[in-house]
Symmetry: C2
Subunit: 191 residues, 2 copies
């Protein structure tokens, strides 16, 4: 099966036995997505937590002014979901779209809750994962306040060159929180 990547990803956070890894993984079902297909659309409920085996997704929200604001991209070896909608069964403010043909491992809310019950070590696993996530979001917020758009752009392409190379400038602009016309001017300005 294609659980190898997921197992490695888990082991980066917490060392688990082969049996534990297997118990976790067997709750995930593989699903393929064609380019431009949606895992989640704004206004519906997020039914799955996903792990990217192959491909790339963008997680974004459409605001009142009609701008698509990208929270993050998820390439191979990343997790993705609307955590709020998934856990609380509220309608989601987010959409998740495949940027290329992709494969995900998906776990339903029900299976995840059952997994927390049956294998308590997963609580620790996700405690650690969420903890790391918090750090990233705090750092990103500070960057957005302290850095100019140009500084944020170069920080992004240097930190995630493999993801950046798959994206259009419009998508990158949506992540940086700027208009794509301005990104074009940044790129021209030098380097």
């Amino acid at each position: 099966m294609s659980y190898d990547l997921l197992e490695q990803n888990i082991n980066k956070n917490l060392n688990l036995s082969k049996a534990e890894l297997n118990t976790i993984c067997k709750n995930f079902k593989e699903k393929s997505f064609r380019k431009k297909e949606f895992l989640l659309t704004q206004g519906s409920i997020c039914k799955f937590e996903g792990f990217v085996v192959e491909g790339c997704f963008r997680v974004f929200t459409l605001d009142k002014k009609g701008n698509e604001n990208t929270l993050y991209f998820a390439a191979k070896d990343w997790w993705l979901m609307d955590i709020d909608s998934f856990m609380n069964r509220t309608t989601s403010d987010l959409s998740i779209e495949a940027l290329e043909d992709s494969r995900l491992l998906l776990i339903s809310r029900q299976d995840k809750m059952a997994l927390y019950e049956s294998l308590p070590i997963t609580e620790k696993l996700f405690r650690i994962m969420f903890q790391k996530g918090l750090v990233s979001w705090q750092r990103r917020l500070v960057r957005n306040h302290c850095f100019t758009a140009k500084e944020r752009y170069f920080h992004f392409i240097q930190s995630y060159p493999d993801i950046a190379s798959k994206l259009t400038d419009k998508q990158i602009a949506g992540y940086l929180g700027i208009r794509h016309e301005f990104l074009s001017k940044i790129k021209k300005s030098e380097k």
Copy 2:
């Protein structure tokens, strides 16, 4: 003792028995802070995770341009720490300062790790707390991208009127990511 508030806070996330609550709480030591006293200074290591029993703190970072950027305020019933520095024992980019005479309940890293071991349900507790934290940070990032400074200001004072009323305009500006001169102009512009 003054563990009541902490116990209530925990129970909002996860219903625990009296015995479990007691096991958790006894790891926390109370400490008082005078106004302007620091729990953590940028460049040192965050030794404690804290829960605010009384008073108010600001968690901020000083960037290269000399601007104090406030990540969040923590009033009564809030948690605070540099989660990155606390867990990974790295030097912190953050400072934490009491905005008024305050009281905290503090737990050391060692005691927290031991607590995770001895009472595994705390993994679930913090998994849930961190999960909620993630949602807040994601929402805040979107607000920062979609909203103007004026919209962010009114959102803040309406969402947290009790905290906002304790703060100077300079502190609020540091949270919104704008200069306090501009906040003054926002307030004058209407309402």
